[in-house]
């Protein structure tokens, strides 16, 4: 049986498992008794590229073994806390988004290319911190800003996603919020207005801490891992591709209520 390494963002952990990504996502989202649920965001990790990162990889051979009745070992936590910063970006070979009922979408990494659109951005930081931010900066600039060691407030590496702002992206006062499920839209408008009035201000915090699951349907252009050396993008497929090729995941992502 193969053994896989996964970097989980919720919670931040390095996990060894004998389950392939789809099965691990199912297990991670709804547990073994299937009575709990919660979405999962995790990466496949290239073991060879973290050999020098100081993780107890020897434990994988020793402890990540099948149960006596033949069942595969579902999860062996190798490390928690400050894991993301110790894993190089190029060791993350795929991103897996598991809905809260265990449907998994796998996305391959790509080089980030800015779309060049003039708009305000809404970012949800996922790891290691979880504020929600409105920003003038594009994803690459934003990652650089957050991981800038010259600033007092920074993190070594950041995982985040850009969320859709719909009609508010260029007009905070637009009357039609359409399909935006964010709580307290009034406050979001205030933050966007404040940012619009201050061109020199790069970012404005909307929520200090993520209080709900990320509704996958609100992800605008994918999930990003960035640090001072650059950014890796894991772009979400187009709506049409999701409907055609990943229907079960997409239906599940749309029906998620959050908690």
């Amino acid at each position: 049986m193969s053994t896989y390494l996964y970097l989980s963002l919720i919670p931040e952990a390095l996990v060894a498992s004998m389950l392939a990504p789809d099965d691990f996502g199912l297990y991670y989202a709804i547990g073994s008794a299937k009575r709990s649920r919660g979405q999962a965001i995790f990466f496949s990790v290239d073991r060879d590229k973290i050999a020098d990162a100081g993780f107890p990889l020897a434990d994988v051979e020793a402890r990540c073994v099948a149960h006596s009745d033949g069942r595969p070992k579902s999860s062996l936590y190798l490390s928690i806390y400050r894991v993301l910063e110790r894993i190089p970006r190029d060791a993350l070979t795929a991103l897996h988004l598991a809905t809260d009922d265990g449907r998994v979408l796998t996305i391959q990494p790509q080089e980030f290319v800015a779309d060049g659109e003039e708009r305000t951005h809404l970012y949800q930081e996922i790891c290691p911190v979880t504020p929600r931010i409105v920003s003038h900066l594009n994803p690459a600039e934003f990652a650089g800003f957050i991981t800038d060691t010259d600033r007092n407030v920074h993190v070594p590496r950041i995982a985040f996603t850009e969320l859709t702002l719909g009609n508010l992206k260029n007009d905070p006062d637009h009357h039609d919020i359409d399909n935006l499920p964010y709580p307290n839209i009034g406050h979001l408008r205030d933050c966007l207005r404040e940012l619009a009035k201050a061109p020199d201000k790069a970012n404005k915090t909307v929520l200090r801490q993520m209080t709900q699951e990320v509704l996958f349907r609100t992800i605008r252009n994918g999930v990003f891992i960035g640090d001072s050396t650059g950014i890796t993008a894991f772009p979400l497929p187009t709506r049409d591709t999701l409907e055609r090729e990943h229907l079960a995941w997409w239906r599940s992502a749309q029906s998620t209520f959050g908690q």
Partner: protein, 739 residues
């Protein structure tokens, strides 16, 4: 037998033939992939299992009541000897109509989904023509039942004696009661079944386990799809079968009474006129079915237009054709009766339009409820209740306007009470007009659950997004037509209720006749006495004189007690059925939770859920929970008649009709508006799926489910069943009453 009568069996055969043709045409379509066929087979098996169980229970009830009527008729001689058999055939034909319609629907859903893979028009064609099987079977069997009984009874009683014609028509009314008992079980049982499954599937599957609607991992999803068929197809079919035959028979009875002194020829024309109009409408409904087609890129509006062409085309044709037919029949007051018919047609359309306005997400009421979701579930509930209550105004005004105009036209352009019988006959003709195109209006109704199931099949089978978009468009259209259909059913109940009250008094006269025939005298509550030989004097009493002798006035405490009791019954009946849904849904929740707990492979997709157990739970719950409301509906007129006699029963029927009609409209429209407010949000308004607004809207929809699909539609059957029951036991009421 007048030559025009033969149009009735001919139309019956044409309708049944066309239904068979559409069925064969549908069956030639492929069910699609193996997965699609497997899912359809699960739903079909569940639906048949439900019907078997239901028919066992309702069969027992029908046979028991038949035996009681046999005792009353043959031992105590308080009833016409044909009553038990007429009662039994009504129930059997109604059950057969529901069975055929539901069987067709369960075959049609996968075929509709598969046809939608070719084109939107192909999907519409399969779904609609399968719905037409139901519509045409209902009217075909209705007309067949009427033809057979009219033929048999006229053969035994003859048509030369005006009183015998009255006896024939009022006897035939009793098969309406058999149909009403069957339809109560089908409608209320189906409503409890479908909402228990729906609420259970939503609460555990969608909310707790977080899996989407129609996800095959949800153990209750097949029961939910089965419920669409047993509630919305079999239930609606049985309901409207009963309405259809009830309307025609009540009008025939009113015609017999109104023209009793006009000579046999004229009286017989008045009796068969409602049957002939029904037959004409049936033939034109078959024509209308062929008008329904649409282009490949059709919008929702164009789809609605396609169905409208069929329904409205049939309505216009009946309006025009009936002029020539009524003229050719040589009916008295022909233009007045034609205008009454037209008033009924327009009343039906007005009720349908009002239902669409108050429940469609394209209009302000539903959008206001959707907007209320921004402030939480409580305001959604308040908003839905408020809009639902407001929605009662237009249908009630439409019905009272229709009643007023029909009376005015039918009575020879007068509001006087000296022509009461003629005016009431006009109201009966209006009701016939409203339901004359039932063949096609019911097709648009039965089409809804077929399209709904087709959408579920497409989702579960993972068909191409384009196919699902097409089935979604068909399903969405079905929601609108379902609301319109419910309005029709409720509206017709209001008009039929009035016609049946008049027929009740005719049956009371026959009950008195039975007493006189036994050599006894009869004394009315106002002390007016009829000697045993006073048959002619009894026959000469008109409706107003009967009301006078029975002291049916508002200040008579017997009438007041009856009215308040009738109004109360409408609420209690709703309460019982709503609570039944709550209890049954609770059982379903427990079962779905158990399966998720004990069968972990379900969520992983490695183990099939036990769909059959969920179907069985809903079935048993429905059968058990429908007993109390059924007993209530059947017992109320008997108990009221036993204690307070004819005035009490008339008060009971009036109170139940007035309160039941309004309450039913309120519940159907509020439930529909809550449902569509949720859909409106899911289309992307007010935050869309997953937002706080959506959560509030889901709560509103869950509250509204038993409103619109259980209690609301059940009420119109309550009203009609109580009236039919009163008619059947009128002989007993006349003979025995305590006060």
């Amino acid at each position: 037998m007048p030559a025009w009568f033969w149009l009735v069996p001919v139309a019956s055969v044409v309708a049944l033939g066309a239904a068979y043709g559409f069925f064969r045409e549908m069956m030639k379509e492929s069910e699609g992939t193996e997965t699609m066929a497997r899912i359809a087979a699960h739903v079909r098996a569940g639906a048949i299992a439900y019907l078997k169980q239901q028919y066992k229970v309702v069969g027992t009830v029908l046979v028991s009541l038949t035996l009681i009527f046999c005792v009353v008729a043959y031992v105590f001689h308080m009833q016409n000897p044909w009553v038990p058999f007429a009662f039994l055939t009504g129930g059997m034909f109604s059950g057969l109509a529901g069975f055929i319609g539901m069987r067709t629907a369960t075959y049609a859903s996968a075929r509709t989904a598969n046809a939608a893979r070719r084109s939107l028009n192909a999907g519409l064609r399969v779904a609609f023509r399968s719905g037409a099987v139901m519509g045409l079977t209902v009217v075909g069997l209705g007309l067949l039942d009427i033809s057979i009984w009219f033929f048999v009874l006229t053969h035994f009683y003859g048509t030369n004696d005006a009183h015998q014609v009255v006896v024939i028509t009022t006897t035939m009314l009793t098969f309406g009661m058999g149909a009403a008992v069957q339809s109560l079980f089908a409608r209320v049982g189906g409503g409890i079944f479908t909402k228990a499954a729906d609420v259970g599937a939503d609460l555990v599957g969608k909310i707790e386990a977080g899996i989407p609607e129609d996800d095959p991992r949800n153990p209750a999803t097949i029961a939910d799809n089965v419920g669409d068929n047993v509630g919305d197809v079999a239930g609606m079919g049985a309901d409207l079968y009963e309405s259809y035959v009830g309307v025609i028979l009540a009008s025939a009875a009113l015609g017999a009474a109104a023209y009793a002194s006009s000579g046999a020829t004229i009286q017989l024309k008045a009796v068969i006129a409602p049957m002939v109009i029904g037959a004409l409408g049936t033939l034109l409904s078959v024509v209308g079915v062929f008008f329904v087609r649409t282009g490949e890129k059709a919008t929702q509006k164009q789809l609605l237009g396609a169905l409208g062409r069929g329904v409205n085309g049939a309505a216009v044709m009946i309006a025009v054709a009936s002029i020539f037919v009524m003229r050719a029949m040589g009916l008295e007051n022909m233009w007045g009766l034609w205008l009454a018919l037209l008033a009924g047609l327009l009343t039906g359309i007005a009720i349908g339009q009002a239902a669409e306005y108050f429940t469609s997400q394209g209009y302000a009421p539903t959008q206001r409820i959707a907007a209320a979701t921004k402030t939480g579930p409580a305001t959604v509930i308040i908003g839905g209740l408020g809009e639902g209550m407001m929605s009662v105004a237009i249908p009630v005004m439409a019905v009272v306007t229709g009643i007023g105009l029909a009376y005015f036209f039918g009575s020879g352009f007068s509001f006087g009470t000296d022509t009461l019988s003629l005016g009431l006959y006009g109201i009966g003709m209006a009701a016939v007009g409203m339901l004359s195109t039932l063949g096609i209006t019911l097709a648009t109704d039965a089409y809804g659950p077929i399209a709904d199931n087709a959408g579920g099949n497409a989702e579960m089978s993972g068909l191409d997004p384009e196919v699902r978009r097409r089935t979604d468009a068909l399903d969405s259209l079905g929601n609108t037509t379902a609301a319109t259909g419910k309005g029709f059913a409720i509206g017709s109940a209001a008009l039929t209720g009035i016609a049946l009250m008049a027929s009740y008094l005719e049956e009371v006269k026959i009950g008195i006749q039975h007493i006189l025939d036994r050599g006894l005298g009869y004394t009315f509550p106002d002390h007016f006495h009829l000697a045993s030989t006073a048959t002619d004097q009894l026959q000469s009493l008109n409706l107003m004189q009967m009301m006078t002798h029975y002291e049916v006035v508002l200040i008579n405490p017997k009438v007041i007690i009856g009215m308040f009791t009738g109004a109360m019954l409408a609420f209690v009946f709703s309460g019982i059925t709503m609570k039944a849904v709550g209890r049954a849904a609770g059982q379903m929740v427990d079962e779905v939770r158990r399966q998720f707990r004990e069968m972990p492979g379900i969520m992983a997709g490695t183990q099939d859920p036990d769909y059959a157990r969920c179907v069985a739970i809903s079935t048993k719950a429905a059968q058990r929970e429908m007993m109390l409301p059924s007993i209530l509906a059947i017992a109320a007129p008997v108990v009221m008649g036993f204690i307070f006699g004819v005035p009490g029963v008339l008060g009971l029927l009036a109170g139940a009709a007035a309160a039941g009609f309004s309450l039913s409209m309120f519940m159907a429209n509020a439930g529909g508006a809550w449902d569509n407010a949720k859909k409106y949000i899911e289309e992307g308004h007010h935050g869309g799926k997953g937002s706080e607004s959506h959560k509030a809207a889901v709560i509103g929809d869950t509250v509204g489910d038993p409103f619109k699909d259980t209690a609301g539609p059940g009420l119109n059957i309550l009203v009609k069943l109580m009236a039919m029951e009163a008619i059947v036991v009128a002989g007993v009421t006349v003979a025995i009453s305590l006060v």
